[in-house]
């Protein structure tokens, strides 16, 4: 019976593949893409001014509202700037760690680093965010540590910086930035070290052999070949920051972020079209970012 079945499939590759792929494709198609397109469609729906009910009439009014109301534009700009800052900082911090993991660490050290990088991801996200609020609070452990190092002045002048500063780390954009970087760093380290691991040591030796100093080898060989990993990692850090609504509502200055806006509009405000329009923003930004990365050759070495 089984034999005749396998004989039947032999040579009918397309049929076999279709059979295997049908369930996951159905799942992906309906649950992921289907709901995404429903969301997209919702952003073009109108809202009845009197009853505040969503009516399926196509309109660009929501987008006009998104891009012309200064408050909404502020939210988008604020979120994007934060996402860029978090991505750059994550990349800068992750690179040496990933490079060490990929090139220098022995098998034991490497395992230790992998666990060390992933362990924080296994604990509750909310617990970590609230812990950070306490750490960064005015009388918290961070300001205590800074004070005992005699660096209070530095912290004070940092918090006195307009826009990013605030009364304490926990209620400033600097604090929010620190928590974001803490949260998303593993998502940068892992793809980056995977990409660096695929760079053969002989390429680095060849570069040195041809006269490149370590800095030149890093710029000309290591970074270009790590670009796919850097692109993958930055997509994580960028999009996670764009979409998050918990960190900005627990830590940092009171200004709204895209994620919070989506949460509020579809929840309490019941403005589904505006929430949908806000959630289209990260999608479009990531798509732009990917096409830019592709044009810059980030995926050429794949």
């Amino acid at each position: 019976m089984l034999r005749s079945l396998s004989t039947f499939f032999h040579g009918r590759n397309a049929f076999y593949i279709a059979l295997l792929l049908a369930p996951p494709l159905l799942w992906l198609g309906t649950v992921y893409l289907g709901s995404l397109f429903t969301l997209l469609a919702q952003s073009f729906y109108a809202i009845d001014e009197f009853t505040a009910k969503v009516v399926p009439e196509l309109t660009l009014k929501t987008y006009r509202q998104l891009f012309t109301q200064p408050a909404n534009v502020d939210i988008v700009v604020r979120t994007v700037l934060m996402a860029i800052a978090v991505t750059i900082a994550s990349a800068v911090i992750a690179f040496p760690i990933a490079n060490y993991m990929a090139r220098y660490a022995g098998p034991k050290m490497k395992a230790f680093f992998y666990v060390g990088v992933m362990l924080p991801m296994w604990t509750s996200y909310l617990v970590k965010v609230y812990a950070w609020r306490l750490i960064l609070a005015k009388q918290g452990i961070a300001s205590w540590a800074i004070a005992s190092l005699g660096l209070e002045r530095g912290l004070d002048s940092l918090l006195a910086t307009p826009v990013v500063g605030g009364p304490s780390l926990a209620s400033s954009y600097i604090g929010m930035f620190i928590v974001f970087v803490y949260m998303w760093l593993p998502f940068m380290i892992l793809p980056l070290s995977a990409a660096l691991e695929r760079v053969p040591a002989s390429l680095l030796q060849a570069s040195a052999d041809l006269g490149a100093r370590p800095g030149q080898t890093f710029r000309n060989v290591v970074v270009p070949l790590a670009l796919p990993g850097l692109a993958a990692g930055s997509i994580f850090t960028f999009s996670l920051t764009l979409g998050d609504y918990i960190i900005p509502s627990v830590v940092g200055a009171p200004g709204y972020f895209v994620g919070m806006m989506v949460y509020q509009q579809q929840g309490t405000a019941g403005n589904m079209p505006l929430a949908a329009a806000f959630s289209v923003v990260p999608i479009v930004l990531i798509a732009l970012y990917l096409s830019l990365a592709k044009r810059l050759g980030a995926f050429d070495a794949l």
């Binding site: 002989s202 030796q205 041809l210 006269g211 490149a212 000309n220 270009p224």
Partner: protein, 340 residues
């Protein structure tokens, strides 16, 4: 004349494994020098020390009479062709070749011109715009060669340069490398485990075994006067006879080597020429190779000798397997070996 490369008592161990054991070596400018040995014999470690990718635990390395033991690879006037070619996948062929100039901050126009010149030298003039991924193994090899030569090094190091190529291409590249070396007049040091390659290309060969140089000689010297049993059987093939068998055949206990092609097979009842060493044995097997055939003859319970015979159309064929035959060779064909 100062030596192009000199190693003095260089040692290198990895953990408990001694890769290189107090090796001293002098390579003259313009020489085509081969480091020959089985894997793990220390030949690649030796090359890496010269290139500067590795540091000796003790001993010194001199290039052009200058101590470079602590000089990093980017400050040595030595370039390397890697076994896996190590072409940069994110650069075009021309960019790969010009890399050595780029990191030395040579202007873009001169870079392009010299890269083109180098590519023409290796007969890949029109391939500058391609990516390394689009090239065949032989083409990658040539790009690696052009890239290593663009800085006009005094010494070119080649790590198993032909290892990944198929037989036909390998023979072509052997002739090409040899010609290139003669035209450029720079020192070539190449690592290989293929004794045929070492014999046909090199001016001198250092045979490595277990981290030491077993013998350093010209190819002809290595083949005709191997000093040890290892060299005798690693370079070409040889019958190594020692102990009681040696005594029975020659009257002395010292081990000796005899090349298969220097042994003659004659009929068992025929008289050996005067002065020749002779013995009888059983013909065990015959392998036909076209231009020659090889057979094994058992002369006593411990010893079989390999014999190679040039095949000629008119030659008498060997007797059938299992026959008794007489072997004979001239006394001066035997090479005495160091015991050990």
């Amino acid at each position: 004349m100062t030596a192009a490369i000199e190693l003095k008592d260089a040692s290198r161990a990895f953990g408990t494994v001694v890769a290189l054991d107090r090796v001293s070596l002098t390579i003259a400018p313009g020489e085509f020098f081969a480091l020959l040995g089985p894997s793990g014999s220390g030949k690649t470690t030796c090359l890496r020390l010269i290139a500067g990718f590795d540091h000796p635990d003790s001993g010194t390395i001199l290039l052009d009479g200058e101590d470079v033991t602590d000089v990093p690879p980017y400050d040595r006037n030595v370039n390397t062709v890697f076994q896996d070619y190590a072409l940069f996948p994110h650069m075009s062929v021309a960019e790969n070749v010009a890399y050595g100039l780029r990191v030395r901050r040579v202007g873009a126009a001169e870079r392009a011109g010299r890269a083109r010149e180098m590519l023409e030298l290796v007969r890949l003039g029109d391939f500058g715009d391609r990516r390394p991924g689009q090239l065949s193994g032989g083409q990658k090899q040539r790009v690696a060669l052009a890239r290593a030569l663009i800085n006009r090094p005094n010494v070119l190091l080649l790590d198993e340069p032909l290892g990944a190529l198929d037989l036909k291409l390998r023979e072509e590249m052997q002739a090409e490398l040899k010609g290139l070396q003669q035209r450029l007049g720079i020192t070539f040091v190449f690592v290989t485990h293929d004794q045929g390659e070492a014999l046909s290309m090199a001016d001198r060969v250092a045979v490595f075994s277990q981290g030491r140089i077993e013998q350093l000689d010209t190819p002809r010297g290595l083949y005709t006067r191997p000093r040890t049993a290892f060299v005798a059987s690693f370079v070409g093939s040889a019958n190594v006879v020692e102990g009681p068998e040696a005594e029975r055949l020659t009257g002395r206990r010292e081990p000796f080597a005899i090349r298969p092609e220097l042994i003659e097979v004659i009929a068992v009842d025929q008289q050996a020429p005067s002065g020749a060493i002779s013995c009888t044995g059983t013909l065990e097997d015959v392998l036909y190779h076209g231009s020659s055939s090889r057979c094994h003859v058992r002369i006593d319970e411990h010893t079989t000798l390999a014999v190679a015979r040039a095949e000629s159309v008119a030659g008498t064929p060997l007797p059938p397997q299992g026959s008794r035959v007489r072997l004979a060779w001239r006394a001066e064909s035997m090479v005495p070996l160091q015991a050990g």
